[in-house]
């Protein structure tokens, strides 16, 4: 069974000691755990500067075919990511099919007045957008899913207290997904499979601040048809990335 990790990062971490920092160390950890491929962000894009972190990410991932870049993006209001058109060109130039948002940490709103142009451009290209639940709230998630139905919005690091919110929105928004990095409601995966099927869940480790062993065990200890497990382990993420319509690469 192949594992394709939707949620991991590389780089230094300020608030705790972590299991690895470099790309080589990440690959060693993936080998140890049996993770084949990963969608990777850089911690400097979260904790230092998004454009510079993305630039460093591309440097350290160069030639590492198992690792796919996941940029961290900002609203377009201050011009840090360029215009919408320029950002789409840059993403295409770097072959980036997924982005991360940190509205709380990076001090902005996810609402249309703030992120309408950014999310509109990403939605037009069917991008995958990942966001930790503690970086937003469920009303914001609901409004985003409704306003940008072509985005694939992946909630990461869910926790075990969120199912009432989650099922409220899942019933309405087919473009809402969750990763397994902390999908820790008891029998939560089984509940999703029974109610909604296997399309909404993605394997994600949360490395390096979380432990991949938990999410790996969650995949292999789920009692479900093999096809459902395959979808969660790698198939759903592959499908979402494949539907991204990359923009035309352009010079900046």
């Amino acid at each position: 069974m192949r594992l394709f990790d939707a949620n991991c990062a590389v780089g230094t971490w300020p608030s705790d000691r972590v299991a690895y920092e470099t790309v080589d160390e990440l690959l060693a950890e993936m080998d140890r755990l049996g993770i084949e491929r990963a969608l990777v962000s850089h911690t400097l894009a979260q904790h230092f500067d998004a454009p510079e972190g993305n630039r460093i990410l591309m440097q350290v991932l160069a030639g590492r075919e198992r690792l796919l870049p996941c940029w961290t993006v900002l609203p377009l209001s201050c011009g840090e990511m360029g215009s919408a058109q320029e950002l789409i060109q840059d993403l295409a130039g770097a072959n980036v099919r997924a982005v991360r948002l940190y509205p709380r940490t990076h001090s902005y709103s996810l609402d249309i007045w703030q992120c309408g142009d950014l999310l509109g451009a990403l939605s037009e290209r069917r991008y995958v957008v990942l966001i930790d639940i503690d970086q937003t709230d469920w009303s914001e998630v609901g409004r985003t899913c409704a306003a940008y139905p072509d985005l694939s919005l992946v909630i990461t690091q869910l926790g075990y207290r969120q199912f009432r919110f989650l099922f409220g929105l899942w019933a309405q928004h087919p473009n809402l997904y969750c990763d397994l990095s902390n999908f820790s409601t008891y029998l939560g995966v089984e509940e999703v499979l029974q109610r909604l099927g296997s399309d909404r869940l993605l394997f994600g480790s949360g490395l390096p601040t979380l432990d991949a062993g938990g999410a790996i065990a969650r995949v292999f200890y789920t009692r479900a048809p093999e096809s459902d497990i395959e979808a969660i382990a790698h198939g759903n993420l592959e499908r979402l990335l494949a539907r991204v319509q990359m923009g035309k690469e352009g010079a900046r």
Partner: protein
């Protein structure tokens, strides 16, 4: 630490088979039972819990029902006892107490132990909003010492009611009581504090019961507190036990340390119960 010796733990994890089939004894020293007001838990009933235990290869869980943690001590202890009566080999019951009514404590503990068959004590100072060092808990400590039993407490650093350091005077005054510091203090600062307390007092044990924890901390808690002094606990069905299982099984700890934490330490402690 040497994760490469002994069993291929990653192969066991990827098999999805019960750990017991690989010869690993698994005892969940920190478990519950029943629904909780704050969030939705699918199928938190005792029969489904046993099914989950069979899936993972957990031979026994030490439980305190959710209402016994706070909402209604008497009803909760009754609920715990019903589960133990239905599955006497699968469950050992913790009796719970309310420190705001210390005058009722002795009688409730006698009822719980002598009539209901519960064998250990669980306290939750956070839910009760009462410090573990307060006089309201003293009847419970005296009872635990008299019965030479085990006390599991919720612990969390940052509040003033149940930080690991608050157990130092208790461990000193009641050397015949085994204290399990549930969640090992709950935060990285708490883990450090819990390790220090466990190193000082032989009757203090830690558990790995957390919804999230990096393997750096799993390995550090077990290595620094000592592999003989840490228990596997999951909070299940409050939280999915599979994550806690995967976290320990996939760590870089030695085969011997993992086996001790997964169940061998709990077997020894259980053997000391009168």
């Amino acid at each position: 630490m040497n994760g490469s010796s002994g069993l291929d733990w990653m192969a066991v994890l990827r098999s999805g088979r019960p750990l017991s089939e690989a010869g690993i004894r698994v005892i969940d020293a920190h478990a519950h039972l029943g629904p909780y007001f704050n969030f939705y838990i699918p199928h938190p009933d005792v029969d489904t819990m046993v099914t989950m235990m069979e899936r993972l290869g957990t031979e026994q869980a030490w439980i305190c029902s959710i209402p016994a943690c706070g909402a209604d001590i008497g009803r909760g202890n009754d609920t715990t006892a019903m589960a133990v009566r239905k599955y006497p080999d699968r469950f050992v019951g913790y009796a719970s107490v309310n420190p705001h009514y210390p005058e009722r404590m002795q009688a409730e503990l006698e009822r719980s132990f002598d009539e209901l068959g519960l064998r250990m004590i669980k306290v939750h100072p956070s839910i009760m909003e009462y410090p573990v060092s307060g006089p309201g808990y003293e009847p419970a400590w005296r009872f635990a010492a008299e019965r030479r039993t085990i006390v599991l407490s919720h612990t969390w650093t940052g509040g003033s009611v149940c930080a690991p350091k608050q157990f130092e005077p208790l461990a000193k005054e009641y050397p015949d009581v085994t204290f399990i510091l549930g969640h090992s203090g709950g935060t990285p600062a708490g883990y450090v504090e819990a390790i220090e307390v466990a190193q000082k007092y032989p009757n203090i044990y830690l558990d790995l019961c957390r919804s999230v924890m990096s393997r750096v901390w799993v390995e550090r808690i077990v290595t620094e507190a000592g592999p003989d002094r840490v228990l596997w606990g999951t909070d299940f069905p409050f939280i999915d036990p599979i994550y806690v299982l995967g976290r320990l099984a996939s760590s870089a700890l030695s085969d011997e340390a993992k086996r001790k934490v997964f169940g061998e330490n709990a077997v020894k402690l259980r053997g000391q119960l009168v």
